[in-house]
């Protein structure tokens, strides 16, 4: 039989009762947010393959399977064959042959097929619910397949019946692990792979290679994220928006239009960056509609964001001095009077009409000389010193949320950042370092590749610290 021929790469079939998180475990291990997961048993109806490939070469292959539906009937059929222990896998194969097209055993055929083709067994149970004897038939069937196996306890709810389960599973499985597919826990992932590697000697090298690969892969994703964030900050700070106007002097409407275009552009930059980061982490299907809705509360230009995510006055002052910037700017910030209150200044931009000093808090609006009888207004680069920190904070928060989101989680992301987040990444030292780069970006000059790499490095470290 084809199944007995040594398979070219390790395969693992995730099997078990319906609705116990098989698909969730596969989604989380395969970084696949398209896997159908729901609280309705029988969500998965076909076995699906999730190969881990490097340049097209498969390192290992995972299978998500439908749950058992008629385990006792299958077991009865197998027992009726009346064969010795050595012939049991043969009996399972016979079952598959006989019932290949039997709708009654469609699920069992689906789930047993990869196992009989040589896949190791990852048997999933819910450790938050009590053990029951109805599981014995399926565990017995798995034993009949003769394939190496391991039990995975996934706790879906809050209660803990792990002890019961361990006692029962111990009768059927040599290896028992606990795994939480809802946590994007890198160490947990690696630990599980290490467990899997023990299933069969020949699989060890391949799985070990996969572990090394995942470690490098994660660094790469982090690097790409840091790059995307760095580019966002640089582009945002350096962006210049121009608007031509007719006549001698710009009207208020012209200024409004310019300011709103300017903000629109920055928002778009941020949205694009977020999409990039989501794609980097394979979260392309993040509920966007909901996400934007929820974003409103912490919109870039809203009053709250300035005070919560940017720097406080004192921090600004210290940064201004320490960053080697003109001390005047710091003092300016401290004694700037009404226009100083950044929170309200940015808030005023949103508030809209007439509050030009608010725009100027972000960047001056300049009137450029005439070209061909047309004059133009210009806004940018960003002169507001606090802004880059707001932006960075938001970007880091988003990236950290996305990167630590398991691919098994469905539903809307809750992007709610609180004040403590800033404390988690922004220390005095880092702030001083960042400021020198922000200053370069403000000059409007294209930073050279090296400077940019250094800035990226700072962001990379912050991200690593957060994760």
């Amino acid at each position: 039989m084809a199944a007995l021929i040594a398979s070219p790469h390790p395969r693992f079939a995730v099997v078990g009762h319906p609705n116990k998180g098989k698909s969730s475990i596969v989604a989380s291990l395969a970084f696949d947010d398209t896997v159908q997961i729901s609280d309705t048993p029988g969500t998965t109806t076909r076995t699906r393959s999730f190969p881990l490939t490097v340049d097209g070469a498969v390192l290992y292959e995972l299978f998500d399977t439908p749950g058992f539906q008629r385990a006792r009937q299958v077991l009865a059929w197998l027992k009726a064959q009346d064969v010795g222990a050595d012939k049991r896998p043969e009996a399972v194969r016979a079952f598959l042959r006989v019932h290949r097209d039997d709708p009654k055993f469609a699920d069992e055929v689906e789930l047993l097929t990869p196992i009989m083709a040589g896949a190791g067994i990852l048997y999933v149970v819910d450790g938050s619910k009590p053990y029951g004897e109805e599981y014995e038939a399926e565990m017995e069937i798995l034993r009949w397949t003769g394939q190496p196996s391991m039990a995975l306890i996934n706790r879906i709810g809050t209660e803990d019946y792990s002890a019961q389960w361990e006692a029962a599973l111990g009768q059927y499985f040599k290896l028992i692990r606990t795994y939480d597919p809802m946590a994007r826990d890198f160490d947990g992932h690696i630990a599980l792979l290490e467990g899997i590697a023990q299933l069969r000697q020949e699989w060890m090298p391949s799985v070990k290679r996969s572990i090394a690969l995942f470690e490098a892969y994660r660094q790469r994703l982090l690097g790409a994220t840091a790059q995307s964030i760095a580019r966002l900050v640089q582009r945002t700070i350096a962006h210049v928006e121009r608007l031509q106007f007719a006549g001698e002097a710009p009207t208020n409407m012209d200024k409004e239009k310019l300011a709103s275009r300017y903000q629109e552009h920055l928002r778009r930059l941020e949205q694009r960056e977020q999409r990039d980061v989501e794609a980097i982490w394979h979260h392309k299907h993040l509920d966007k509609e909901q996400a934007t809705l929820l974003f409103d509360g912490i919109d870039l230009f809203s009053r709250e964001s300035a005070s919560i995510f940017g720097l406080t006055r004192k921090e600004m002052f210290v940064t201004g001095m320490a960053g080697g910037a003109a001390a005047g700017a710091g003092i300016d910030l401290l004694f700037g009077g009404t226009t100083f209150l950044l929170g309200s200044a940015i808030g005023a931009v949103v508030g809209g009409v007439g509050a030009y000093w608010g725009f100027e808090e972000l960047s001056e609006i300049r009137i450029l000389g005439t070209t061909l009888g047309k004059r133009s207004l210009e806004m940018g680069p960003m002169t507001n010193r606090n802004f880059p920190y707001i932006l960075l904070g938001r970007a880091l928060y988003h990236a950290h949320t996305v990167a630590s989101r398991s691919h098994a989680v469905r539903g809307t992301v809750q992007l709610v950042m609180d004040e403590t987040f800033k404390e988690r990444w922004l220390g005095d030292e880092l702030r001083t370092e960042l400021e020198t780069y922000h200053k370069t970006f403000r000059s409007g000059e294209e930073p050279d590749a090296e400077t940019f790499k250094e800035y990226e490095g700072l962001i990379y470290r912050s991200l690593e610290m957060l994760l």
């Binding site: 009762h17 696949d32 896997v35 159908q36 309705t40 999730f50 009590p130 029951g132 004897e133 050279d448």
Partner: protein, 506 residues
């Protein structure tokens, strides 16, 4: 890598970057190449995807014409300047100081500026570059070709690269200017008899002037002494404008005064042309390097290179999964209250002790308790169904002689059945009038309703009049099922759709 390649890439990358997999495959085909080679190979492979004319064609042509026009203009300007300076009216001799300023002074100063520009070319906004005549010319000429202008506006040149372009162009123009001056000098010398002299307002003695001339002539004095003016010549050719006329001595040496031209020609050749050639070469090298650097930092190129050189790791499923559509409707045969007693209570995959405790909690009484499912065999389950059928038949007064056919099954089933408490065994008190047989089936609400259970339910439904399915929570939950779990059972029952089955949903 040429400028045209840079432009091709700038045009190709935004639209034809391709996927990581494609680019990686390309990278694997060319394993031992440098980044520049990889990019060049990629460009060659994809160049045909660009519509004609390509931006690079437009630009190269434009660049060529601007270069040509600039060169010709510079040459003409040089020739005119030279000729003007050398024009000998016959009244006053030609002052070599002017000419030296044009052929040595200006070139040396502008070359100095050029070198400073080159050193600073890496800064995006290089003021010196924008002061260069080559830069103005570019701007003026671009107005004359609006058609190209459109294409050129699409091109956002790397600012460093534009700096080098301007620097290089400026050197080229300066070279042709100097060549024009030299040609003018030679032309004037050949066609006219020019008397050279020198004069300055500053008090410079002939000896000092000789020293200066000596320095200038240093590069060729060793092998071309005739092109180095002697002290005598310098003394003789000093000219005082104040005198207002040529003195006799000068007229006397008029033939000698012409000797200056060799020096002037050599000075032009060595400084304005020779040195400029070196600076021009340096500018070309700088430009070439900057093209290479600009290519490697061009938007899209770092991504392309990274994709070529990092393995494609894929973890996800290769085929999309059909979306799971959930039937959200719930089962409509429902009761909110349980009856105080049932003819039989079945606990699916439960042990009898648990069933009793649950019944106490629910305050439900029954005469028969059975525990199908779990690790019972299918035969035992069938026996339970048979037993219940048997009981029912007897109560609905089916002739006793028919009982026998169930007896065999019944004895099997007895193992699985125990008498309930509360009511005495049905066998003892047959109730003739209560003909309907009512069964309560307890199920673990947290476990999914599986087909194994459905099969049993269908069998059972054939034997009784009414089955009430009651999802029960865990002992810790006080046997109360979470409504989320009950919903799952409700949906399942809807799919199974058995007339006799009702769902208990308190």
């Amino acid at each position: 890598m040429t400028l045209a390649h840079y432009i091709d890439l700038a045009q190709l990358l935004p639209k034809h970057l391709g996927t990581h997999a494609q680019n990686r495959a390309f990278g694997l085909e060319n394993p031992d190449s440098t980044p520049t080679e990889q990019i060049e190979a990629w460009r060659t492979q994809h160049i045909d995807r660009l519509e004609l004319p390509r931006w690079s064609d437009v630009f190269v042509k434009y660049h060529y014409w601007i270069g040509l026009i600039g060169g010709v203009m510079a040459f003409v300007l040089g020739a005119i300047s030279g000729a003007t300076l050398l024009s000998y009216s016959g009244k006053a001799p030609v002052n070599v100081v002017y000419f030296l300023a044009l052929a040595v002074g200006v070139p040396v100063v502008t070359m100095g500026l050029a070198l400073i520009s080159m050193a600073r070319a890496s800064r995006a906004h290089n003021v010196l570059v924008h002061l260069s005549p080559a830069s103005w010319m570019e701007k003026i000429l671009s107005r004359f070709s609006p058609k190209n202008q459109e294409t050129l506006e699409n091109l956002h040149f790397n600012p460093r690269l534009s700096n080098w372009l301007v620097i290089e162009r400026a050197q080229m123009m300066a070279w042709w200017f100097a060549f024009g001056v030299l040609i003018a000098l030679l032309g004037v010398v050949v066609t006219q008899d020019v008397a050279f002299a020198w004069s300055t307002t500053l008090s410079v003695t002939p000896e000092q002037f000789h020293r200066l001339v000596g320095w200038i002539a240093a590069p060729w004095s060793a092998w071309l002494p005739s092109a180095v003016p002697s002290v005598d010549l310098i003394e003789q050719s000093q000219f005082f404008r104040l005198g207002g006329k040529l003195d006799n001595a000068m007229i006397h040496h008029a033939a000698q005064l012409g000797q200056w031209w060799k020096f002037l020609a050599m000075a032009t050749l060595v400084y304005a042309l020779g040195l400029r050639t070196l600076v021009w070469i340096a500018a070309r090298i700088g430009l070439r390097r900057s093209v290479k650097e600009a290519v490697l930092t061009l938007e899209g190129v770092p991504v392309l290179l990274e994709q070529m050189n990092t393995p494609v790791v894929e973890t996800t499923a290769q085929q999309p999964e059909p979306a799971f559509v959930q039937d959200s409707d719930s089962y409509e045969r429902r009761v909110t209250e349980l009856e105080p007693s049932y003819d039989a209570v079945l606990g699916w995959a439960m042990d009898r002790e648990t069933i009793r405790v649950i019944l106490d909690t629910l305050q439900v009484e029954t005469s028969l308790i059975a525990d199908p499912g779990g690790n019972r065999t299918l035969e035992e389950d069938a026996g339970i169904v048979a037993q219940i059928t048997n009981e029912m038949m007897r109560m609905t007064a089916i002739p006793r002689k028919m009982w026998g056919m169930f007896d065999e099954m019944r004895s099997e089933a007895m193992k699985a059945m125990i008498p309930g408490k509360g009511r005495s065994s049905a066998e003892e008190t047959p109730s003739q009038e209560d003909a309907s047989k009512d069964v309560l089936m307890l199920v673990k609400s947290w476990e999914p309703p599986m087909m194994d259970w459905v099969d049993f339910l269908e069998d059972l439904a054939g034997a009784v009049d009414r089955i009430t399915v009651a999802p029960i929570g865990t002992a810790e939950e006080g046997y109360r099922a979470a409504s989320r779990d009950v919903t799952v059972w409700s949906r399942k029952l809807r799919l199974v759709d058995l007339e006799k089955v009702v769902l208990w949903q308190p």
